[in-house]
């Protein structure tokens, strides 16, 4: 097995997942969890090798002519992310299998979800920028489908659209950035940049490319000022939120930053940008979490804060900070997936997520309460969970930060205190205190709903107690980010020092805030309403509305719907462009058309064409005009035959026939009228027709010239049989040499058919009403 097979397997699973769910609706979650868990175990078996510096690479040619290949690799960093994607993915599948039962049309949901997983796995395992970008975009697309899954709700549609547009915009910036970065290397492979970073960092394109790359990463990872799509994305069903926030999507930006870090670790622009935006997002996310009342929204804002923290830690670029980032990555993935799944469970059992309406749940679901408590301990950074180790390391990293350490420390301290505060709110106001929800008393969630959270919490606990078991996983990842550094030794107990003091103070401040929670929430809410109400999301949609209005105006101007004006536009444009290029190239015209023989048949054909054309113009009814153009067409067909263009002739005669058949049907429906057009229109049409005729005639004389330019046709004539295995050159060109054009053409044909059907059925329903 290699990583490419694994990714392909997941994409295939995405294709069959709907059928699996349709056939075994009761156990589909468990079935669908098997492949990701299988891949997870296989990846786990690679850990030992990778930790000794092995790199599993795999490449297949994709577009060799453009130097683009599908390349994959598994080094420490990729492996860590891949384990998260597949491991948590498998658990989410089990959870979703049960959770989604109350939803409609879940078959496609599982298709989307597995597709999302496969894309994410491809993203973290890519070994060249184009592959990475492709999978990056696939995650944007599939997350759009998942966030908007409850598409009957307008809020869900809006949230999905917003997420797609923001991450799509970022995707474009990313592509531009990646191309700019790869330009000096003439290669898209990771290794090209990694082996010689100076070529990029010293190039004049460094700053613009870095800005674009950062926009790509920041939009995906919901870093301020692009953070606002993430809280909206909690419109998705809970399994999606759990997956999106913990192991996928938003972590893609983090992965990209970590991946790019070794290239730019010495660049002040890069590290400062990361630290600045990271620190600010860390604080803003935590701040906005304080006054929320919806559990999922609280969790979403803490994710924003966590993402900021990760960016900041990578940007700080010391062994301490990157170790802290990696530990925190695990910590956050474990507790956030758990808590989102639990939020889903609570909503399922009590049909609300509003903290003000909840309380005392631990009486009814003690196991769920225990799991949530442990996850919340990890989120607040309290021993013995892995979260504690993460927070200790973070403080250590911030204390030792090379620049602006005190400021970052203060921001981090406040953000952590706010996180402790919201953890305490969820813990005490949801699971303890008075029961105050209306309706049925909740019960313990089903086994499938608790399996995932339980497993994640146990892992988090085990890693907390035996932190060095995580080291084998984190050490190689650290080496991928900071090749020169080694992992900081992980331990639960650091002794009494200033870091422990900071931790204690954080918890204390969180507790104090919690004690005055009514006042704190009211005050923060007031401040937010008055001063910090950026309304980024609303402004975003205002911008979209403006854009739509603008394009509507543009469209009504250009697409006016008058067929004759379209024709005129096309003919005039073509004539002018052709005339200009003829003029510019200034090829000599042929003295005369060199025809093999002026046979009587050819003459007859020419006369036929002219008679048809004249008859069309002077015809007194549409039907006559139509048939007359057919006469011209037959004449052209004869000429094709005479000059051995049999394929063209056959096609021509059939197209002519069809034109008349369809035309006759259309004419049949048109109203009769007395005069075709007024005098002005006739003169206008005649001038345009003459102009086009003259230009086309000149073109014919030009191409009849001996050797105006090197002929493309010779290549086809020579290679048709040897390379295309066909004697009919026209056909070989169509289906082999220029097959891509043909593919485009048949797609246009199909779309035209659908468009025509849509138009006609629309008319029908309109006239019926």
């Amino acid at each position: 097995m290699d990583i490419f097979t694994a990714i392909l397997l997941l994409f295939l699973l995405a294709a069959v997942a709907p059928f699996i769910n349709a056939s075994f609706p009761r156990i589909s979650g468990w079935i669908l969890s098997l492949p990701p868990i299988g891949i997870f175990l296989w990846l786990l078996s690679l850990v030992q090798g990778v930790s000794q510096g092995e790199i599993h690479a795999f490449a297949i040619e994709w577009l060799p002519a453009l130097g683009i290949n599908l390349m994959f690799r598994l080094d420490g960093l990729s492996l860590l992310f891949a384990l998260l994607v597949t491991g948590i993915g498998g658990l989410i599948m089990i959870y979703a299998g049960y959770y989604m039962r109350s939803y409609q049309k879940t078959n496609r949901f599982f298709g989307y979800l597995v597709f999302f997983m496969a894309s994410m796995l491809g993203l973290v395992a890519a070994n060249d920028w184009i592959s990475l970008f492709m999978f990056w975009e696939l995650t944007s697309l599939s997350s759009f489908l998942l966030i908007g899954f409850k598409h009957e709700k307008e809020a869900a549609r809006k949230a999905a659209l917003q997420a797609l547009l923001i991450t799509g915009l970022g995707g474009l910036a990313l592509l531009a950035g990646l191309i700019l970065m790869s330009l000096p290397y003439q290669s898209f492979a990771f290794d090209a940049v990694f082996s010689n970073p100076d070529l990029f960092t010293q190039s004049p394109l460094f700053i613009p490319a870095t800005v674009l790359l950062l926009i790509g990463a920041f939009t995906k990872s919901a870093i301020f000022p692009f953070h606002f799509w993430l809280p909206g994305a909690m419109q998705a069903p809970s399994p999606v939120s759990a997956y999106l926030h913990s192991a996928t999507m938003v972590k893609a930006g983090i992965y990209l930053i970590a991946r790019l870090h070794p290239v730019m670790e010495d660049q002040a622009f890069w590290t400062y940008s990361l630290s600045l935006f990271g620190a600010f997002t860390m604080f803003v996310g935590a701040w906005f979490a304080v006054s929320q009342q919806d559990i999922k929204k609280i969790l979403a804002y803490t994710t924003v804060s966590a993402l900021g923290t990760l960016v900041l830690l990578i940007g700080t670029s010391t062994a301490y900070s990157v170790t802290a980032a990696l530990v925190f990555l695990l910590v956050h993935a474990f507790y956030k997936a758990t808590l989102f799944m639990m939020a889903g469970n609570i909503e399922k059992k009590t049909s609300t997520r509003d903290i003000r309406l909840l309380g005392g749940l631990s009486h009814f679901m003690p196991i769920a309460a225990l799991i949530s408590m442990l996850a919340l301990l990890s989120m607040s950074g309290i021993p013995p969970m892995l979260g504690f180790i993460g927070k200790e390391l973070m403080y250590e990293a911030k204390l030792n930060a090379p620049k602006a350490g005190n400021f970052i420390l203060l921001m981090g301290f406040l953000a952590n205190a706010f996180t402790v505060f919201v953890s305490a709110r969820i813990a005490f106001d949801v699971f303890y205190g008075k029961c105050k929800w209306p309706g049925q008393l909740p019960k313990e969630p089903a086994l499938s709903l608790s399996t995932g959270p339980a497993v994640l919490v146990i892992i988090s606990l085990l890693f907390g107690v035996f932190p060095n078991s995580a080291a084998v996983l984190l050490e190689p990842a650290l080496k991928s980010i900071l090749p020169a550094q080694t992992l900081i030794h992980l331990k639960l107990w650091h002794g009494f020092n200033e870091i422990l003091l900071l931790s204690a103070l954080t918890v204390l401040l969180g507790a104090v805030l919690f004690a005055f929670r009514t006042k704190v929430i009211a005050m923060v809410g007031l401040l937010n309403g008055k001063y910090f109400n950026l309304k980024l999301s609303e402004r975003f949609f205002l911008g979209i509305d403006l854009f739509i209005r603008l394009t509507k105006k543009k469209t009504t101007f250009i697409q006016h719907g008058y067929h004759r004006f379209y024709l005129m536009t096309i003919l005039i444009t073509a004539s002018v462009l052709l005339f200009l290029s003829i003029f510019k190239l200034s090829f000599p015209l042929a003295e005369q058309l060199e025809l093999n023989s002026w046979t009587i048949i050819l003459l007859a054909a020419a006369v036929l064409i002219m008679v048809g054309a004249i008859a069309t113009v002077v015809a007194q009814s549409r039907l006559v005009a139509l048939v007359s153009t057919g006469i011209s067409g037959i004449g052209i067909t004869v000429i094709f035959v005479l000059f051995s263009g049999v394929d063209c002739a056959i096609t021509m005669i059939m197209v002519e026939t069809l034109t008349i058949v369809i035309g006759a049907m259309v004419v049949y429906h048109l109203p009769k009228y007395l005069s075709f057009s007024n005098k002005f229109a006739r003169w206008r049409d005649m001038s345009i027709a003459l102009l086009f005729g003259v230009v086309m005639g000149t073109l014919a004389f030009l191409s009849a010239n001996k050797k105006p330019m090197e002929k493309v046709s010779d290549y086809y004539l020579e290679n048709s049989l040897s390379k295309g295995y066909g004697e009919n050159v026209v056909n070989v060109i169509l289906v082999d040499f220029r097959a891509l054009d043909t593919l485009g053409e048949i797609i246009v044909l199909g779309l035209a058919a659908i468009g025509i059907v849509a138009l006609l059925t629309l008319n029908k329903t309109k006239s019926k009403n």
Partner: protein, 139 residues
């Protein structure tokens, strides 16, 4: 304008036209013909039938599933394009050829033929769909 002569002609010509269209399609690689022309002919066979018997009758034909054929055509074209990527050495949209010798006959088939078959179906399907839609307007 339903006439008996047209009806009888259309009824008996339809299978011949369809077979002829397939023949024209197959020989296209070496002699005049091909997917586009073949598709047009196949579509015309059904259009002729519809002209003689009316669209309602023609729509009852088993072959009158134009949207399915358009989809099938896209599918075939896509598969033939991917063949080069999966089986051949070339990559996306490069040809793969194979030759079979059988009792003195040799049959040479390649992915361009499959691609051309896709063109055949799309063209035929689109022709039938569009003309049937326009004809339905009559009613």
């Amino acid at each position: 304008m339903e006439t008996e002569i047209l009806k009888i002609a259309a009824k008996h010509l339809k299978p011949f036209l369809l077979i002829l269209s397939l023949f024209v399609f197959y020989r296209g690689h070496n002699e005049p013909g091909g997917g586009f022309i073949g598709g047009l002919m196949a579509g015309m066979a059904l259009v002729l039938y519809a002209g003689a018997f009316g669209v309602e009758e023609a729509k009852k034909l088993r072959l009158a599933k134009p949207l399915f054929f358009i989809g099938l055509g896209f599918g075939l074209a896509l598969i033939s394009s991917l063949l080069g990527l999966l089986v051949g050495q070339g990559g996306f949209m490069t040809a793969v050829w194979n030759q079979w010798q059988f009792a003195g006959f040799s049959l040479k088939l390649g992915s361009p033929l499959l691609f051309d078959l896709g063109v055949y179906f799309v063209v035929a399907g689109m022709l039938v769909k569009v003309i049937f839609s326009v004809m339905e307007e009559d009613v």
